[in-house]
Amino acid sequence: MSMAKETPLLPVEDVREAALFFVVGALCFLAALATLSAKSTYGAAKSWTAEVQGELTVSLPDVDRRGADEARKVIAETEGVREARVLTKAEIDALLEPNFGSRGLPDSLPLPQLVAVKADPAVADMGPTIARRLTEAGFANAVDEHADWAGDVRRVLGVARLTALIAVALLASTAVAVIAFATHAALLARRDIVDVLHLAGARDRFIAGLFERRFWVLGLRAGTVGALLALGAAALMIFTVQAHGSRAGLLPELSLDFLDLIILVVTPVIAGFASRFAARITVIRALKGMM
């Protein structure tokens, strides 16, 4: 007689395991998506804040175009300023278009002249320095440092990132709890097998190993499906954003890079380990109740 392959000591429980597979897969999908979102948000914030670092806008309320040009020269001569440029009427109209529509502003409406400044981000107090020099030169002015806005954006995005990380942690904990619950149910359902193995002299780790292997494979498979679904969802979002071009300008720039793929590859491995860990702890604790 040849016994090609030993029958697993734990019988396969199709219905129960299909339900658990679905739950773990869904949790992995959500966790992977939350992680990708957190990373994407962080990347977008970093890129945007780096872009506006060192940028300033100087508003000159009481001057005409020629006066603005003289003020620009004062600004350009300030140490640390790399570039200063007076915005054209068309550029100012474009800036105000969201508030006043596309037909432009009447010439009679008094508007300040605007100077866009790019300065060395490493030089401190650029805004107050420019404001002081303009005042000394006799120009009323208001200086807006974009970095002030960037700080606010960073804080908001920091909270968003933290929220995403908490979501990932909660999803992972939920997965562990669900698997622990499922292991406990499987243990109760298979109490007869556990008893026989126990009384045949099987050590606790031998019995736990049976459940660990079962749930490790389940976690790995379910995690893979969840990660693939997350990849699909992310790809769909990227495709949609790219298809709508400038209309999606408020969204962070989305892409899938190497790190994203690492996240997706690691997700099933973490799910597998979490499943294994939950199963081991549950079984060992339950066996402690037996002599």
């Binding site: 007689m1 029958t7 000591l9 026989v196 009384l199």
Partner: protein
């Protein structure tokens, strides 16, 4: 028990010192039991239904902890052993459960081989032994059959084969011939006696079957009123009967 009466190096297979057992808050099921089984001894345990035979056996195969007293196996008190040490002791004890406890998703062959898998033995190393053992209990043609397709007697024989496949130092059997015909019962008893004589396996069999008890010259312990007594009815009688009527033995 206030003073455990055991010796670490006792030459005993099983020793119970003032053992009592109760479940939850109920009354004692077993009370103040003392028992010594020497290595290589053969004993019967009898008693009415509900007398506590199965509970006593559970204490012997370390499925239950006594509420009071001490259970020692091979001279080792079990109350303070680690879980791994308890597992090591259990490996030296073969058990035939009253309700068989076969794993339904495994074949007869795999059920018998189960303790060997637990021991980490390779299938190639034990295959012939398991097949031979199953053939000996009359199941050579039913190696692949799953328990639900086996009769009660066949399941019992698989359970017995599983209990003895590792050639344990102690064999504990709870009503091992309850579901087999007299001829098979006699064969199984012969297997137990062979294990006892050739391997010096300590055997204790719980049974209602007084006919079975009378087949063997062996001490009989009887549980009654939560107490264990060495029965005077069957033990000496058995010897006397066998001396005058040798044809009655196995």
């Amino acid at each position: 028990m206030t003073h455990p009466r055991y010796d670490l190096f006792d030459d005993v297979a099983v020793r119970l010192d003032s053992v009592s057992l109760r479940y939850d808050t109920s009354e004692d099921i077993l009370s103040d039991i003392d028992l010594v089984l020497k290595p290589g001894s053969f004993s019967f345990l009898t008693g009415a239904s509900g007398a506590g035979k199965t509970s006593l056996l559970k204490l012997l195969y370390l499925a239950l902890k006594p509420s009071r007293g001490e259970v020692s196996l091979f001279g080792r008190p079990t109350s303070n052993l680690t879980r791994d040490q308890l597992s090591a002791l259990r490996r030296r004890v073969g058990v035939v459960f009253q309700e068989f406890r076969l794993l339904e998703h495994l074949s007869a062959y795999e059920n018998v081989a189960l303790p060997l898998r637990v021991l980490g033995r390779r299938e190639a190393d034990y295959r012939a032994d398991v097949e031979e053992l199953l053939a000996w209990v009359g199941l050579g043609e039913r190696l692949h059959a799953k328990p639900p397709t086996l009769s009660g007697g066949e399941q019992q024989r698989v359970a017995i084969a599983r209990a003895v496949v590792t050639q344990p130092d102690i064999l504990i059997a709870d009503e091992p011939t309850g579901n087999v015909d007299p001829e098979m019962g006699t064969r199984l008893m012969r297997l137990f006696l062979e294990l006892n004589k050739r391997r010096k396996t300590t055997v204790i069999i719980a049974t209602h079957d007084l006919g079975l008890v009378r087949q063997v010259e062996a001490p009989v312990y009887r549980l009654a009123n939560r107490l264990l007594v060495k029965d005077v009815e069957y033990g000496p009688d058995t010897v006397a009967r066998r001396r005058t009527d040798p044809g009655k033995g196995i």
